[in-house]
């Protein structure tokens, strides 16, 4: 098996607030292979976004990466200097965000924001070359009439268009990995489908690996090869799409999946996971899910569950499987 593109080992990112230490990411393990689409699924507040920001090392203060290893394309990103990281951001790794219109600087036109990254990462200086490149990128993301759109300001774009522009900006440098943080959550369902379709195409045609973050099962199921389930800053289960969705091992995953209403069959009542997300400033001891877990045992309260390999790809952190 070739070397993974991205290997995250025991990542810990903490926020030092006046109220206490918020453990947003608390020992996360994650692998993204080349030419693969990996999804991170979890509730709001489970640490998905902070994970993405940690990989690029743009976690805003008072957050800090405290421990762990992030190995990308053979190199440990946590050991790199800020200058080297700047080349990687928007270079080999790009990121797109949830609210595309807010992620664009409202004072600058589309073409200016694109030319900025083109100059930066591709080193082009000739105006006409840059313009050609802009049109090429906009066409790649299926924007009709790129000539006209490139002169637009962000507030003049629809959500779908803006997201395409963001993807174009992300692709300007021909990255190896695209991190997508809830890219379709703010969009209409039909536009959502288009964007996902676009991402799939880019993945197939250019071998682009994608790390897809979402709280929406449909989106993950649509696009991803592998899935990581996050709870309270940790990856409590991971595996191939089929493994996790059809044979969920962790009680939390099972709970999450059962909450999704099914189209067929009559459900007498909706299952819910009792309780609520623990306070990230003061998480439960042992297995963080134990207060809400229907299968909790004594040991779950005291000892952190180890990672158990169920088959080649399927890993779960739960005492039930030791």
């Amino acid at each position: 098996m070739s070397q993974p593109l991205l290997l995250v080992e025991d990542l810990k990112t903490y926020f030092y607030l006046p109220e206490g230490v918020l453990r947003a990411v608390d020992g996360l393990n994650l692998i993204v292979n080349r030419n693969e689409i990996v999804g991170i699924i979890g509730e709001s507040g489970s640490g998905k976004t902070v994970t993405a920001l940690s990989i690029l090392r743009i976690v805003p203060p008072p957050g800090r990466i405290v421990d762990g290893k992030i190995v990308f394309d053979g190199e440990n990103l946590l050991e790199k200097s800020e200058e080297e990281m700047m080349k990687i951001r928007g270079g080999k790794i790009s990121m797109i965000f949830q609210d595309p219109i807010s992620s664009l600087d409202p004072l600058y036109r589309v073409k200016d924001q694109l030319s900025e990254v083109i100059r930066m990462h591709r080193g082009l200086t000739d105006e006409s070359e840059i313009k050609e490149e802009i049109i090429r990128l906009l066409s790649m993301v299926k924007i009709p009439d790129p000539d006209r759109l490139m002169n637009a300001y962000p507030h003049e774009l629809s959500g779908g268009m803006a997201q395409r522009v963001m993807i174009a900006i992300a692709l300007a440098s021909n990255p190896l990995l695209l991190i997508a943080d809830e890219p379709t959550s703010n969009l209409d369902v039909t536009i959502q489908a288009q964007i996902l379709e676009l991402l799939r195409e880019l993945h197939e045609r250019r071998g682009l690996s994608i790390l897809m973050i979402s709280h929406n099962f449909g989106v993950i199921a649509e696009l991803c090869d592998k899935v990581v389930v996050m709870y309270c800053g940790e990856a409590i289960e991971s595996g191939s799409l089929i493994d996790v969705f059809e044979n969920p091992a962790h009680p939390y995953t099972k709970g999450l999946l059962s909450v999704v209403p099914k189209l067929h069959g009559v459900s007498k009542h909706f299952e819910t996971i009792p309780g609520s997300l623990p306070n990230p400033l003061n998480p439960p001891s042992g297995c963080k899910f134990h207060p809400r877990c229907p299968k909790a045992m004594n040991i779950c309260r005291k000892v952190k569950p180890p990672r158990c390999k169920l088959n080649r790809d399927h890993v779960v952190s739960c005492h039930l499987y030791t």
Binding site: F15, A24, P60
Partner: protein, 291 residues
């Protein structure tokens, strides 16, 4: 308003006070302001002598035990004059705001409540006043009305009403469409009752914040007008006119200018800090940085 809501408001008020006190700027602001208010209120008791008595042999004397802040060019004790001058600033702070409220709040209410042409007309007038530098308006009206405390109060109030009108109009507009107004109307309330019992109470907070934020500027303008000679007239003491009278003697008796300056600056700093704290507490803004 019955007893229950009165006590609720009282409780809320106390809670807010505690919050303001817990902030550094709030604490400093409250202490300084209390100090100055104390001086103003207790001026006759605290002053060693009368602010009006002239002892010409003792004119332009530097600070000493007998005259802690020195004397002015007419031999009056500077400390007494400064303590009494605090009263002028206090009165300006309170009453100019009242004048502005008396003019601005009704206009804002009418504009917001009745809408239509009246609203447009009032809006245009308000915008015109709003874009004008307050000092200029106050200066013009002070020049017209003539000198004296009363006229200064009115001049400053006239200069400031636009902001109050705007706030009230905004509140009215946002409240007018709410369901409970409809409900209360169905129960038989007429316009006046709606305005007084339901709309006005909601305006108190923003009006309070706006007042406190603007009082420093009002005091500053009174001081400037008095300094220029068209505000409070001597022999009545105001920090502005004390400084004005000390100007010709700057070289030989700088204390006449320095001490009132120190008090003015202190008062304004205290009020500005307090204003910051109050506006932060009463206008809860979302805490930044949601992860």
């Amino acid at each position: 308003m019955n007893l229950i809501s009165k006590s609720y408001y009282a409780w809320r008020f106390l809670q807010n006070l505690k919050l303001i006190w817990s902030r550094k700027d709030g604490k400093a602001g409250m202490l300084i302001t209390a100090f100055i208010v104390l001086i103003a209120v207790a001026a006759p008791i605290l002053s060693p002598k009368s602010p009006y008595t002239q002892v010409l042999e003792d004119k332009l004397k530097p600070p000493s035990l007998q005259y802690p802040f020195g004397t002015d060019h007419l031999g009056r004790d500077l400390m007494s004059r400064i303590f009494h001058g605090a009263r002028a600033s206090l009165i300006v702070g309170v009453f100019s705001v009242l004048v502005a409220i008396v003019i601005g709040v009704p206009l804002g209410l009418i504009a917001g409540y009745y809408g239509g042409l009246i609203d447009q007309v009032i809006e245009v007038i308000t915008s015109a006043f709003w874009s004008f530098p307050t000092f200029l308006i106050a200066l013009a009206f002070a020049a017209a009305f003539g000198p004296g405390l009363q006229n200064v109060l009115i001049a400053i109030g006239v200069a400031w009403w636009a902001g109050f009108a705007r706030i009230v109009r905004g509140e009215v507009l946002s409240l007018r469409e709410r369901r409970f107004i409809e409900a209360v109307r169905c129960l038989g309330a007429n316009d006046a009752q709606i305005i007084v019992y339901h709309i006005l109470p909601n305006c108190i907070n923003p009006l309070l914040v706006y007042s406190i934020l603007n009082i420093p500027s009002m005091i500053l303008i009174e001081a400037s007008l008095s300094f220029l000679g068209i505000g409070i007239q001597p022999p009545h003491p105001s920090w502005g006119n004390i400084i004005g009278s000390g100007r010709p003697y700057l070289r030989e008796a700088p204390w006449i200018v320095m001490f009132p300056t120190a008090f003015l600056a202190l008062t304004l700093i205290g009020l500005i800090l307090l204003g910051d704290a109050v506006s932060n507490v009463l206008n809860p803004r979302l805490r930044r940085r949601m992860i």
